[in-house]
């Protein structure tokens, strides 16, 4: 049982949907990002998705690209990203952290060393966009062996024939990408998402969380209503980009969380 499993057990008991918030480590700077992350549980966030900055985020739209760029320009590294997780863990022992990013910084550090350090830093799960099931031996299998969840993306192009392969080595939850596209682009529609989530749920007992293209409390509510929870990323990161003060960012996160929890 990881913190992620515990969190879904608690939410099930409370009859609530999960709200997952994405923020980029080191954005706009290391200290402010930590302050935001520390404030997320208080704003109602059930699971924190922490972005690992990368120069070439191929699945991300301009908002998250620029967030990664700001972080890297400020000297953010994988080491400092893990330090952010460690600092968060000093104040919070229960809220899961999922590290989301691309493979190269992890590969560059060395998979074994990365897993050891990430686990010690209190990271509970990984989402690595450019590692499909075909490359499971790279990181997915070692991560599971190290007791970390490896959360897979399922997408509108993942057809029934392929779904079992995608689900096979997934743990923690399944992340359904609601659109074909990049983060922060098109708006997800609950009517499109509902049958897809049902299709995935018929093939797995894992919770299915929906992300990409959710921007408002209303959308968080309607999407969470047809799944086990919702993820919001770009809409939060946008406020960081605009230089909004941390309390204002957290107030907006709270409104999103309330939306998802109303579902």
């Amino acid at each position: 049982m990881t913190r992620i499993d515990d969190t879904f057990a608690r939410l099930r008991a409370e009859g609530k949907k999960a709200f997952v918030a994405y923020v980029m480590a080191g954005d706009p700077d290391e200290a402010t990002a930590l302050e935001i992350i520390k404030g997320l549980p208080g704003a109602g966030v059930d699971i924190i998705e922490m972005g690992l900055p990368f120069t070439d985020p191929m699945a991300d739209g301009p908002t998250i690209q620029l967030a990664g760029q700001r972080a890297l320009d400020g000297g953010m590294t994988l080491e400092k990203t893990l330090a952010t997780a460690r600092a968060f863990r000093e104040t919070d022992q229960t809220t899961p952290i999922v590290l989301m990013g691309y493979y190269n910084p992890i590969y560059s550090r060395g998979v074994d060393r990365f897993l050891e350090d990430a686990k010690a830093a209190g990271i509970d799960g990984l989402i690595v966009v450019d590692l499909p099931p075909e490359e499971d031996s790279e990181l997915c299998i070692p991560a599971q062996a190290a007791g970390m969840n490896f959360i897979r993306l399922a997408t509108p192009t993942t057809d029934d024939a392929r779904l079992p392969k995608v689900l096979q080595n997934t743990s923690g939850f399944v992340y359904y990408v609601s659109i074909t596209g990049i983060t922060g682009a098109a708006e997800a529609q609950a009517t499109d998402v509902a049958p897809e989530v049902a299709r995935i749920k018929s093939a797995t007992d894992l919770p299915v969380i929906v992300g990409f293209g959710i921007k408002t409390p209303e959308a968080a509510q309607s999407i969470a209503g047809v799944a086990d929870g919702a993820v919001v990323g770009s809409a939060i990161v946008k406020l960081v980009e605009e230089g909004k003060p941390v309390p204002e960012i957290l107030a907006y996160v709270a409104s999103l969380a309330d939306g998802a929890h109303r579902a």
Partner: protein, 415 residues
């Protein structure tokens, strides 16, 4: 040597798209099903004689193949050593080797029922080739090109627009080929159902590196037959410039099992490989990593962040290299060297002066290495160099570097 004892270099990639540890399919799930169906379609086409009959017909009548293998007497005399042959792929329709591969991919796209073609381009040669073939077949074409490259390769931008393509300048990163490829991948993820991504080099997720190599291998196949006819034997050395590595792989592949043929790839050394990262020499100055769908040698910092390369040649300005080259480098079958901007400019001028051939800046890098080695070699040493592109697109860049004012009425040199 009996076949079963012969350890062939031509069997890769394996079923996972790996050349040794390199290659693979490091893409998001959204693209994975499409990449698998492309692989299936390519496997079918590869064994379909009608596919290759169509390719041969287009290569002959539309591209103008076979391209000549030309004995460069002027260069040979000037350098005073090895006998130098140029494989004249700069004479192809659109002026470079890029169209060899584009034709194959567009025929595949048509087989797959895709109606919209996207491409990334650096020098603009791949973009022009893609726009050209799309115009011929009436397909919608969108080309991503780094904003910096749009500026330094302006004639090709206009060419693409004339051919009906939409050219999208990419401003993320430093605005070069790597960034164009990122945005092309983002477009593909968004429009995956109707769009075919026509990659311009032997990089990207499997099956692209193998597929592009197979389409470009026409260069080496022709060269082999042509040198046998001209000299009655194989060459001693073959040389090509490397951006992603497609013209090089095309020349090299048919010679991989001819173990007496020395193979040399020339990377862009920019301002010099010793000066930190002001170059694009992935093999000589990088280390293995994962980018754009494959594991290969990359220019990157200690944290695994990708670095921007630097080269006078937009077509070589890429921080990676095709995975098959990474493998050939590691096993030692091919040798990789680098050439600086200054050396390439010198070779550019020498080709103009001794052969009456204005080369692209990319093969000028290969020629610069020929200039280094040929004088030391005996007269019976045969070199084949891939003259993979012509220099019309580069005259503005070269003029600037040589201090020549093209806007002046007499085109006088400026101080």
């Amino acid at each position: 040597m009996p076949n079963d004892l012969f350890n062939s270099f031509m069997t890769g990639p394996d079923e996972n798209g790996r050349f040794g540890d390199f290659g693979g399919r490091f893409v998001s799930e959204t693209l994975m099903p499409l990449i698998l169906s492309l692989e299936e379609e390519y496997d079918r086409a590869k064994d379909d004689p009608s596919f290759w009959a169509q390719m041969d017909d287009l290569w002959e009548h539309y591209v103008g193949r076979p391209s000549p293998l030309y004995f460069a007497e002027g260069l040979t005399k000037h350098l005073g050593g090895a006998k130098i042959y140029l494989k004249r792929d700069e004479l192809n329709h659109t002026g470079a080797h890029k169209i060899n591969n584009v034709l194959g991919q567009i025929l595949l796209a048509r087989r797959m029922g895709k109606t919209r073609i996207i491409a990334e381009t650096g020098a603009g040669q791949h973009g022009v080739a893609t726009a050209t073939v799309c115009a011929k077949f009436g397909l919608k074409c969108v080309v991503y090109m780094g904003a910096h490259d749009v500026e330094r390769q302006a004639p090709n931008v206009f060419r693409m627009r004339l051919l009906g393509a939409e050219v999208i300048p990419v401003t993320s990163g430093r605005g070069t080929l790597k960034d164009a490829m990122n945005d092309a991948l983002r477009d593909w993820v968004t429009n995956v159902r109707d769009t075919f991504y026509c990659i311009g080099t032997v990089a990207g997720p499997h099956p692209y590196p193998a597929m592009v190599r197979d389409f470009q291998a026409i260069i080496g196949k022709e060269a082999k037959a042509q040198i046998m006819k001209a000299e009655g034997r194989l060459p001693d050395t073959i040389i090509a410039a490397i951006g992603g590595g497609s013209n090089a792989m095309g020349l090299f592949f048919p010679f991989l099992d001819d173990k007496d043929v020395q193979i040399i790839g020339v990377e862009a050394g920019g301002k010099g490989v010793n000066q930190k990262m002001e170059h694009c020499a992935s093999l000589t100055g990088g280390r293995p990593g994962v980018l754009h769908g494959n594991r290969t040698y990359l220019l990157q910092d200690d944290d695994g962040q990708i670095l921007e390369g630097f080269s006078i040649s937009a077509g070589l300005d890429y921080p990676g290299i095709g995975p098959e080259h990474a493998w050939l480098h590691e096993i030692g079958r091919a040798q990789y060297v680098s050439i600086t901007d200054v050396e390439a400019l010198e070779a550019f001028q020498l080709s103009c002066q001794t052969e009456g051939i204005i080369p692209a800046l990319e093969p000028s890098h290969a020629l610069a290495h020929v200039m280094k080695i040929a004088p030391e070699l005996p007269a019976d040493h045969i070199i084949i160099m891939n003259m993979c592109g012509r220099g019309d697109k580069d005259i503005f860049t070269v003029a600037r570097h040589l201090g020549f004012d093209m806007s002046g009425p007499e085109g006088r040199s400026v101080e």
